[in-house]
Symmetry: C2
Subunit: 606 residues, 2 copies
């Protein structure tokens, strides 16, 4: 790892922690042109174990950064979930199996599993291509956030002063320190000890709910057994008499078993509050799993990794101090592993925050934009906690005897929970509430919902009729996308509507002239068939290159692009503003171009 950091004393953003959340933030900000420093206290990246589930919305986010290909190449695809429950004659049997993702609008109706280290490496490699390297083992020995109000409001100021300490290496070097001045700091290091150093954050860390603490064990097997259990390659939630198990098929035929150890006596060392190391080991976890899986057999298998940890449900009361110090990921929320959410929420925190920071750093937007980060993400974290509670109650230790008595109803409740919260856990149903960046207005579409991510839909590129996923026209390139549904341009009325819309955007406001393609991208979707549509009918400035820009998309009611129907767009067309992170922010009719300008005027400086 080249030590490129020496001599750099001023950065835009200092990211503390190179787990998934920190890496997403560093990568997105670097791609947006910000100067980023990312440090991690660990000497190397994770090599085995840890988090592993990538949910549908997270896959879309990978895709939006151009990183999905690498993910798909390495990850295992999980399509189904099977539910097992105790049976009267002892042991377990299958009660039901379901598609693991039950969301009509999921572009990827499955989840992917891949070890956290491989996921981190996808971002580490992408950062390295841009000359940014994770500096490790380095931690912030001291942090000071200025309290000068003027400095805090000046987007070009560096109110964060960090003394970074390089930890001793094997070579026996003495710890060295350096001072870094940052405009913003992002805490993405989970345990967040450093937060105590920033006044404000230190008193707001956790809303602890100790009653929900659980001890979880996890064992990773290097191969999938070939014996009598038919569902190794599905996710299985197994409600056994002695425990609850969660089976996760992983990449390269690997397999993980989560074991819920509840809060049995002796598991927690009262002195440390952590798992008592002498109380549990891989052998014991395996034994509990073997008993739980009967009559099915776990044959002798090589164990790659195992762990035991306490986890509770917690949400930080604040996600930032003065919009200068932010926390993302496990630093602001934790949950049980059952719903496979941890890494997904964390990465999506960073995805939500990064473009907003980029806008403020560029001077395009006021600091107020940054308030929407906590506003949007804290609410979502709280929803997940609620789900986690409900989901876990279906097979927690204290409910177990009750489940046995009243099997039918309780057993069914787990699949129900799965479906009920599918939008939440898959991530595709996340809805952000109205704010300066998310309009409160009614939608002119029946299907598109303001505050939700743009749902997937195939459109055909007008120039060559190649099918394109409309989400792929909205990459995470920090630009707002204005998708213009033109209607049928063979009708003069639609041509006129489009012309007047274009005039307002292009001429009657300084929006386009000030920012142009730095902040805005236009996607035009015509109504027509691939045999008859003529993209030369679109005004010149709304198209440039047939491949990259605007004239290229049109809906086709014969094949692929039933986009008008799927999105509920009427024949008069519509304009849809999509945020840089892929969420629908505003929708108008084509004769309401002024409302688009008004939307941007609430947070863009023009």
């Amino acid at each position: 790892m080249p030590d490129l950091a020496q001599g750099i004393t001023h950065v835009d953003v200092l990211v503390v922690g190179a787990g998934p959340a920190g890496l997403v933030a560093a990568h997105a900000l670097t791609q947006a042109g910000s100067k980023v420093r990312i440090i991690d206290i660990r000497p190397t990246s994770v090599v085995a174990g840890q988090a592993d589930g990538i949910m549908p919305r997270t896959i879309e986010v990978f895709q939006s950064y151009g990183l999905a290909e690498s993910l798909f190449k390495q990850a295992n695809r999980v399509n189904m979930v099977a539910f097992y429950n105790t049976r009267e004659e002892g042991g377990i049997s299958k009660t039901q199996s379901l598609p693991v993702i039950d969301e009509k609008t999921a572009r990827y109706p499955f989840l992917l599993t891949l070890n956290q280290g491989a996921i981190e490496n996808i971002f580490i490699d992408a950062l390295a291509e841009r000359g940014v390297f994770v500096d490790r083992p380095v931690h912030p020995a001291s942090l000071v956030l200025s309290t000068d109000e003027a400095e805090l409001q000046d987007h070009s100021a560096h109110p964060v002063t960090a003394i970074l300490e390089r930890l001793q290496t094997a070579g026996g070097d003495r710890n060295s320190t350096e001072t870094v001045h940052a405009k913003f700091i992002i805490g993405a290091d989970g345990e967040a000890n450093w937060q105590a150093q920033i006044p404000g954050l230190c008193v707001t860390i956790y809303l602890t709910l100790p009653s929900s603490d659980h001890v979880w064990g996890a064992i990773d097997f290097t191969t999938t057994p070939e014996v009598n259990f038919p569902d190794w390659r599905k996710i299985c939630t197994i409600n056994a008499a002695n425990t609850t198990l969660l089976l996760i098929p992983r990449e390269q035929d690997k397999l993980r078993i989560y074991v819920d150890l509840g809060l049995e006596d002796g598991l927690i060392d009262p002195a440390t509050g952590r798992v008592a190391t002498q109380s549990i080991d891989a052998k014991k976890l395996l034994e509990i799993s073997r008993i739980g899986l009967q009559p099915f057999v776990i044959p002798p298998a090589e164990i790659e990794w195992w762990t035991c940890y306490i986890i509770g449900r917690r949400v930080a009361t604040r996600f930032s101090v003065n919009e200068r110090a932010f926390i993302v990921g496990d630093a602001c929320h934790t949950h049980s592993p059952k719903a496979g959410q941890g890494m997904n929420v964390s990465m999506n925190d960073a995805h939500n925050l990064a473009w907003k920071l980029a806008y403020v750093l560029r001077g395009c937007a006021d600091m107020a934009l940054l308030k929407t980060y906590e506003f949007e993400r804290r609410k979502f974290a709280q929803q997940l906690i609620d789900f986690d509670k409900w989901y876990e109650s279906g097979f927690s230790a204290k409910n177990r005897s009750e489940l046995l008595k009243n099997k039918g109803k309780s057993a069914a409740s787990i699949p129900e929970a799965f479906r009920e919260f599918s939008g939440l856990t898959s991530g595709v149903g996340i809805q952000y509430e109205p704010s300066i960046i998310t309009a409160a207005s009614k939608s002119p579409s029946q299907q598109l919902m303001i505050g939700r991510r743009l749902p997937p839909q195939i459109v055909l590129r007008a120039a060559d009729s190649t099918p394109i996923e409309i989400q792929d026209t909205c990459p995470s390139d920090t630009r707002f996308k204005i998708i213009i549904f033109t209607g049928d341009l063979n009708q003069l009325s639609q041509q006129n509507l489009l012309t007047s819309f274009a005039r307002i955007i292009a001429e009657e406001s300084s929006l386009l002239s000030k920012y142009g393609s730095k902040v805005l991208d236009f996607i035009t979707v015509m109504k027509g068939t691939k045999e008859t549509v003529d993209y030369l009918k679109i005004p010149g400035f709304l198209r440039s290159n047939y491949r990259k820009h605007v004239p290229l998309f049109y809906s086709c009611f014969i094949e692929g692009g039933k986009v008008y129907e799927a999105y509920g767009i009427c024949t008069e067309g519509a304009a849809v503003v999509v945020r840089p992170d892929g969420y629908i922010a505003k929708m108008t009719m084509l004769d309401e171009g002024d409302k688009i300008i008004d939307y941007f005027s609430h947070f863009l400086n023009f």
Copy 2:
């Protein structure tokens, strides 16, 4: 380029010519474990121009070798073809546009365009990974094929003796020579001068049809114009008053225009029989194109490459001498560029030949297997010539005035020709006639045709319900695939049928015991739904690893895998033998396992 060839004096196969056909042969044979030497007289691979169209069946073949990904990354996708014709007021107008591929069973319902050099490099890179490099500039200075009948019949003999000459390099080295002994030689060098040196081949080169000679010009533009013609990114066949044009959109926004120059006076130099160099240049080709495209405009553009060449329709009368010297590609057939066939037929010649050579080289099959190469490929080449004649007659110079008079009918005839021959030109309709490797029996399926390639169909992998393309279970790994459609294994009768079929294959013949997975692969397709199917009901030897082998596939009538219906397989199931090159060779009912054994006994030694 490392000179690895020194000291190698005995090879399995000497490939002369490293164009697409030679490279496919060398790659397939190397992948099959044969020792290959490949030489080329050109000092470097092609850098621009030349052939460019990859048809649907050829994409499937790339996919079967694991090379489609690289192709898709580089190539341009063409979905539509537009037909232009002269109009009464002068200039041209569009008469129709159609999907360029009109084949229901095409896995890839489009074609790809990519310059020949990039296509060659895909194979050159794949060969390099296996330590095989194209040796250049090297040509065969002399070739001798033994006439000793015993030697020719001994599959382990080296009856080909080649003296290879390394041509002078810039360094001024004198030509060096070496002697190579080969079991087989493949001529893939188009003009095939060396063939004169092999008795037998020298008298069988070409069936010349001089009346079909045409002079074609081609211009490659580096970018696609952004002006008033709407169909630059479609293939356009343009029947203008002054010429006929063929527009081909290419990778990286490039564009090719083919110009049919007919056989006008002065074009051919009577002394050489080649295009008279002073008679034509890029400027003249551009001028002809500009006039032909009116009222549409070709703006000033950078020309990357241009050429002019005579092409006729020819098929060699023989494709081999004693099944020891073979010719493939342009060495045995040439056609006009209009149907975009040249490179496709050439690569598929090599694809057809390679696995047969591998079987003979391994001693698994008799020399007689090799006779099927000419039998299968020469007939196909002849069909293409017939198509080429018919297609060209639609817009040849002598028909042009007639077209003007009787526009409606003649203009329509080109799209008609397109559709009529779609199976042939896309490659997905190729049908091989009965032979020792292609059974003459009736098919128990309504949809699968013996002698045609296995059509695409999505099936779900039983273990994890992941959708898989059934063609991808049949890669070009030189193995025959036996696809066993088991029917519904919840019915005892089907279980019994499957058990008896398995017993015949496994126990009552030496086929499996002699060759096992070296020659055979089994794919089991169950009938059922992903919620209820149990792959543990399949006999043990028909499955091994959930991912690689057999138990993994089953049809699902809910989503994706409507394979029983699509293939017309009855509820009693069926067994389908697929050749190593992907063609259906034999089909039986499950109580006819002996017929499978009988099929293999005609050409395999067991």
